[in-house]
Symmetry: C2
Subunit: 151 residues, 2 copies
């Protein structure tokens, strides 16, 4: 089920630019599904996991909502409500910033850090599994081509 024509259940050929767009879409779906399935089994979503990683990267320095929002890969999702869910799960805490009471300071809790250290190796394993068919050179090339597409 890996070839594009099998996914689209069509025998028609199409211009290469359309093929690239559809291939990108399908491959992203394929990868995202695996990740979301995995995260779900750990009561997380991909976006939540990424926010936790951003907060860990702060090394204790609190981050406010707008910085979290702009660092998120999932640009669309609403950082505020996402943080609320992580608070309920006990993985982050929030305080109003003393110097600027408009801002909110978000920090990862030790439970959040524990969750990350527990989950991280499995994430890496999944990443390795996903790209196992490609050689080092192919991966470098793929990165280069994907980046070039965004220029």
């Amino acid at each position: 089920m890996s070839k594009l024509s099998e996914i689209l259940k069509t025998s028609k050929s199409m211009p290469i630019e359309k093929e690239v767009v559809l291939n990108l879409f399908c491959t992203n779906n394929f990868v995202s599904e695996k990740f979301e399935l995995f995260f779900k089994s750990h009561d997380l979503t991909g976006a939540q996991y990424n926010v936790l990683r951003i907060l860990r990267g702060q090394k204790g320095v609190p981050a406010n909502l707008s910085t979290i929002q702009e660092r998120m890969v999932h640009k669309n999702s609403n950082a505020g409500r996402l943080i609320d869910k992580l608070i309920v799960k006990g993985f982050v805490k929030r305080n109003i910033c003393e110097n600027n009471r408009r801002k909110i300071e978000v920090t990862i809790t030790s439970e959040g850090l524990d969750k990350l250290t527990f989950v991280d190796p499995y994430v890496q394993q999944l990443e390795e599994e996903l790209i196992h068919g490609l050689t080092e050179e192919e991966l470098i090339l793929l990165n280069k081509l994907l980046e070039k597409l965004r220029e």
Copy 2:
């Protein structure tokens, strides 16, 4: 804003497998955003456009919901409610199948066909714009690598 480190606003290096996954995600976002923005300006969504194309491909032969569902790139979305919206817009019509009254026969209307023929050239233009930075060989290579990732 095309380099991954700029998007993630981080200077950290990361293992290549993580980079590939994030790059895939970001490039797909980049491309999808452009398409959805375009479709929105024509009162369509990407999924709706794809369904219309599937129906045109039927060349008059009605398609039932489950076939539409399995041919859709957007596997997650609900073909039934999506078709309802296209009916409201007048682009498709539905009938109960005479031979098997469980099934629903969906066909594209002439308004739907008109919409497609109007929109199609702009879609192609957008596709060409998106991939303009890559040579023919690079596109072929990218397709190959994306497909290999799904194996």
